[in-house]
Assembly symmetry: C2
Homo-oligomer: 117 residues x 2
Amino acid sequence: MGSKRSVAAVDYGEIGAVCCGSLVESPLDEAAAAELARVLGALADPVRIRLLSIVAAQGEVCSCDLETPLARTQPTISHHTRILAEAGLLEGEKRGRWVWWHVNPARLAAIRRALGG
Amino acid sequence: MGSKRSVAAVDYGEIGAVCCGSLVESPLDEAAAAELARVLGALADPVRIRLLSIVAAQGEVCSCDLETPLARTQPTISHHTRILAEAGLLEGEKRGRWVWWHVNPARLAAIRRALGG
DNA sequence: TGCTGATATTGACGCCAGTCGATATATACT
DNA sequence: AGTATATATCGACTGGCGTCAATATCAGCA
């Protein structure tokens, strides 16, 4: 299915919406807190923060170009991109043998809003 | 030392500044990423998110009033308030036998800025 | 002074996350 | 088909986290 020039999205399943209002407006219920904690947990790692930062700076980055600057092995990079993608912060497109990653700015904005932005 | 009506700040040591520019502007170095990850890690827990949310909604809350809504024992509440305070997100004042907690809005704003706000 | 109550600390337990080596899968090239 | 390379998955190890019971500390009060 799809053209050979396909730019298939790498799908890691549904991402929850960081829907609910700001933290500081009214007490969050357990479900909202759990969802927000999950997304923040995806960000709460120095390697993933730098990964996201590198991708944001370059616009689009191949997985293979992350191992060296992050000083981690290929399985570990794959692990981190997966977690960021599952949190909706990173989106990947498979082009040929490579996966190209770019950030999802709307997702970051949603987190900022949840933090009282 | 200090007056008997003292409102001594509960001090958990220095808090690092979430200094550095936004994630999305330029790649963060390891130190900046580690610091940001530490603060985000303090937020990446459903109990702590709800705790912060409750304190924010009420302005000022006593530790003893957190056990019931959060359904955790007293040592666990103390553990979580400590982590939030060490991250600079919560500030406590000891008044008599009670500790009154309030959020540090500037700290939340700093995190939002680090996330590209 | 001694008692009561709020908070902090300690120690232990179970669980999850970050990491890597080994291996599997998939895509491109010859 | 066969080979080479990019990425994903698996299994194992290790360290850290959330939780609680028990205990310590400290402020107020009789």
